[in-house]
Subunit: 343 residues, 2 copies
DNA sequence: GATTAGCACTCTACATCAGTGAGTGCTATT
DNA sequence: AATAGCACTCACTGATGTAGAGTGCTAATC
């Protein structure tokens, strides 16, 4: 950020941003002068505001309205102005309770986490489950369902389960299935799911296997089993954004809901947030979410016991309560990481 | 329905309902007279409309607006007026393609089905998966995850999988787990999940078991495993209802979205629709969904190969294209039943 | 007796038009 | 540098008028 500001300009910018976050109305010079501890006249404030506008930090919707912060202003605000609130004991209790109450399964915990994020922030909570493919293989099992159908069940050390119905050309007897799973369990011991997949593909080339029809069949089937679908993503509190005044008109809302209907697209975008550690903040046009929808995204990674990583965070309007949401996201990520490592 | 109407009244009512469905605007006497094949003057139509209003079939939002059908009118319409459209070849192809394209797993099929319902009807598509508890037990399996954690995997003949992480007091060796699952697989052979649960509870009382610590442990654990959570429900196309003019104002929309956030409540209400065969139609105030929200519900049951039943259907405004949606729901239910019985 | 033409009436939607007030930018003053 | 003053802009509000859609009633017509 190449923004250089005098102390006073910064204070005024901060005042404007916070006022706007609180009220969602353009804020005028006199409002700033009044609210502001520093005794300055509206006229002076106006001069400063004119500067800020020139620097691209403020805009006014029309001549006689107050000023509204731009994305750039929010950026500056979160980077250097925002005074982060502490997470209150109340809130901590709420998060912990939520994350704990559900059954011990990972998906349940994550779902509750997204609920908690949503209800504490009053925006949308999202959680992207750790990618199954980077989980460590624990167990594979085949169960005969129909005469030509086999259910493959794949378990990771995180206790995640993926199952897949596979059509087999022949009817495979139970005994063979058992032998196959023994062979494969041996083969994939200690690997991640994606490594396991590579191992399988490699093994399929080996001569020894090519002459053993059962083994090659086992590999063919398990290859399908380990090719699992996309990650899971939990979104909660979509209705909450209807409370935000900026989305009360139907058009903008539709945009957002559309964006969330294709979770696939969503995921691809969220994956970008996975690369850095700590709390990540994307504001407005920086956001990958449906461009120019006036949406901000605050995320943080969390880790499981096995160092696989997931993502959690909050989506809300750019006019978001950063000072409270950022600590909440941060705290939640740490908490979830801790909870999961205990498992 | 205790509504007796002359042929002409019925025709006029039908015209009004269909006009209103098409335009979402109150329909006036002259519009009916024009559209209507029968050559009648607006004045005559007005007389009839006055009658219909007195009978509670129409209302006018204000003196000089046209008439709007009441829920009662829609009821009468679907019961005795509506001329059902055939499902076009195009549509059939679309549904089939959608249901087939996904992997062979039941959840995937149902998800795609709800998608298909949504995109063909242009309203919200819902599918309630067959209750797992009435599925027939196929297989149970325990996998050691941590030192005091066991993952129980429960498979039904439909290929549905439920898994549950269970904390065990002691550390159970793999061998014991194997023995336990053998014992339980024997025990629950051929039963439905809910029957299996009862069997387990009964077995826990038997003397023979009480002295065998391994068996009693097996029962304790499996009892947790078969106590599975609620049914699954797939809702697709929520954003579509934003296209409906009656929901373009934020307030009503919020109501609906709120209603759908608690799937639990939703499910309880949908379960009522499970009792009867064939296409069920609930209009406006008849609907269990968030009262007085102007929502209609069209559902039909479908069955799997094992005679477990699920529910699918469409949710939209009372002003819904009944003539095309009803056949679509009907056809889809039959198709899904057929598809699932092939599995 | 049912149907219809005619007409007065009602009410909304839309446009127009001040008046108001919030807020600005500029300039002159402190 | 800070501020007071002032003219100016522009959205918002409420009043007013008009057009149009639609109704209900009555009297004429088939």
């Amino acid at each position: 950020m190449d923004v250089e500001l005098s102390a006073r300009s910064r204070q005024i910018l901060e005042a404007i941003v916070e006022d706007y976050i609180a009220t969602a109305e353009p804020v005028g010079s006199s409002a700033v002068a009044r609210r502001h501890a520093l005794t300055l006249s509206p006229a002076t404030v106006r001069n400063v505001m004119a500067n800020l506008e020139e620097m691209g930090l403020l805009t006014s919707p029309h001549t006689s309205a107050g000023r509204v912060p731009t994305d750039k202003a929010y950026r500056f605000y979160v980077d250097s102005l925002v005074g982060l609130r502490q997470v209150t004991r109340e809130e901590k209790r709420h998060i912990i309770q939520r994350c704990r109450q559900s059954g011990a399964g990972l998906p349940e915990i994550l779902k509750e986490t997204s609920r908690a994020l949503s209800s504490l922030s009053n925006y949308m909570g999202i959680v992207v489950a750790p990618s199954f493919t980077s989980d460590i293989f624990r167990h594979i099992e085949f169960i005969r369902i129909g005469s030509h159908k086999v259910l493959a069940i794949l378990v990771s050390t995180n206790g995640l389960v993926q199952n897949r119905l596979i059509e087999t050309g022949d009817d495979i007897p139970e005994n063979d299935l058992l032998a196959m799973s023994n062979y494969l369990n041996e083969l994939m011991q200690g690997l991640t799911i994606s490594q396991a997949r590579e191992r399988i593909l490699a093994e399929m080339q080996s001569e020894k296997v090519q002459y053993d029809s059962m083994m090659s069949q086992a590999l063919r089937i398990s290859e399908q089993a380990v090719t699992v679908g996309g990650d899971e993503i939990f979104v909660e509190g979509q209705a909450r954004i209807l409370d935000q005044p900026e989305f009360s008109d139907a058009g903008r809302m539709k945009e957002i809901f559309r964006a969330f209907e294709q979770k696939g697209q969503m995921l691809r975008l969220l994956n970008r947030c996975m690369n850095a550690d700590g709390v990540q903040i994307y504001i407005g046009s920086e956001t990958p979410v449906s461009q120019s929808a006036g949406v901000s995204l605050i995320t943080s990674r969390f880790t499981t016991g096995n160092n696989t990583i997931g993502l959690l965070g909050v989506i809300g309007p750019t006019r978001m309560g950063y000072s409270s949401v950022i600590p909440i996201v941060d705290y939640t990520a740490r908490l979830v990481s801790r909870l999961l490592s205990e498992i």
